[in-house]
Amino acid sequence: MKTGAVAVARLVAARDLRLAFRKPSQLLQPLLFFMIVATLFPLTLSPELSRLRDAAPGVLWIGALLSSLLALEFLFRDDAQDGTLEQFALSGQSLTWMLFAKTCTHWLLSGLPLASSAPIAALALGVPGEALWSMVASLALGSFALSLLGAIAAGLTLGARRGGVLLSLLTLPLSVPVLVFGADATQRAIDGAAIAPPMYMLGAIAVLGVTLAPLAAAAAVRIGLE
């Protein structure tokens, strides 16, 4: 009997989770990268917490963006090389749906850990404790949107030589809205203001991403397999 959609998503996620836990270093590297970037700012800017606090939203979001770009490399590359993507495309199941499941799993393994470990970096940058929850929420939502967006670019660069730099070149301008609203939400959290307005915007982008990005990613992957 043909496997149902939910079971397909579960299997796709289960395989990626199992693979990730067999190679934990791949999971930790983007996190470590994020921490190091956050450490470099006080060293280059100033150790004064008040100055760092001003820069904190930018530091956290650019760090998160670069780290998610790094993690994006792992999203499809291995699967393209070992024929897994081809198997997906020929399975008779919806490729769009499978890639959506894959992207969500990828976010669970990269974006979510990043958002949850961000408070350490944030505290070191002088972000007040009350702001942390809002900041984690904005980073979680924003990194989800970035994963969806990145899935398209990762799919598009499958067929390209020197995919890595190109991947960043494609993703960075497209991620500006996420960055703007995310950094605004974090800034508001630090100022103790309501974060709802930029969070709604991030939510809207995520919804748009959920609807359109997997379709575009599936089209991109099929082209990449040619």
Binding site: I152, L156, T157, G159, A160, R161, R162, G163, L166, L169, L170, L172, P173, L174, V176, P177, V180, F181, D184, Q187, P198, M201, I205, L208, L212, A216, A219, A220, I223, G224, E226
Partner: protein
């Protein structure tokens, strides 16, 4: 329904012939429009009450900015047509649009910076329109970068088409987010690049210049399209006939 026109649109020799015939007309009309508009804008139009002669930069800046967006949209529409109806010529049109659009973006940025110097006392301020324009330039670079990085031309066509469509969906969102961002930091802007209140003497050269730029865009797309078709179809018999 008669679909022959649609099939002819997809046939490279037909499109090549069309482009060859129409290029001089578009080019000629563009030259006339631009010369008349320049005369109107630089000589006939009165100087601006606040910005004096500096405002005349608008006659190059604004049409370049409009065309940079129009070129991106044209590229995305052509890409979508190529993807949906599997029409190779449409992909060539999209490929022809990208570098011209990027140059319009550069022109808009350059003239914006030159305009900024007398207005703000500095070449660059993070004005929302200039910032969006800069991001648009990066989108163009991404598109051309992807196209260049994929060796197989058919694959490059399709992948860059997907990117163009994703980009065109994103352009308004980017624009909106940049406006949002700017409204947060209002105090940083010394003086907004205000829309000069234009009377008719100032306005008609601007509109004519826009038309001239659009015609110029069409002419250059056609020229690039011809080159693109010749390159892609270099093995085909019609190319040998054309070049003979």
């Amino acid at each position: 329904m008669n679909w022959t026109w649609f099939h002819r649109l997809g046939s490279p020799p037909h499109v090549y012939g069309f482009a060859t015939r129409w290029t001089p007309w578009f080019g000629g009309a563009a030259a006339i429009a631009i010369v008349v508009a320049l005369f109107g804008g630089l000589v006939l139009a009165p100087e601006d009450y606040q910005q004096k002669d500096a405002f005349r930069m608008v006659y190059v800046h604004a049409p370049s900015a409009w065309l940079s967006l129009m070129a991106y949209s044209t590229m995305a529409v052509a890409a979508a047509v190529g993807l949906i109806w599997r029409m190779k010529v449409a992909h060539s049109v999209a490929a022809a649009c990208a570098p011209i659009g990027a140059w319009f973006t550069v022109a808009a940025l350059g003239t914006g910076m030159l305009w900024g110097k007398p207005m703000w006392g500095t070449y660059w301020v993070w004005d929302p329109r200039l910032t969006s324009e800069l991001l648009l330039l990066f989108l163009y670079f991404g598109y051309m970068g992807l196209r260049a990085a994929i060796e197989d031309p058919q694959k490059a066509d399709k992948a860059s088409a997907v990117l163009a469509i994703v980009g065109v969906v994103n352009v308004p969102i980017i624009k909106f987010s940049v406006t949002w961002w700017n409204s947060l930091h209002q105090e940083a802007t010394v003086m907004r690049m205000g829309k000069p209140t234009m009377n008719f003497d100032m306005l008609w050269p601007l509109l004519l210049m826009f038309l001239g730029f659009a015609l110029y865009f069409a002419a250059v797309v056609l020229i690039r399209l011809r080159a693109e078709l010749l390159r892609r179809e270099r093995g085909a018999s019609w190319v040998r006939e054309v070049l003979a």
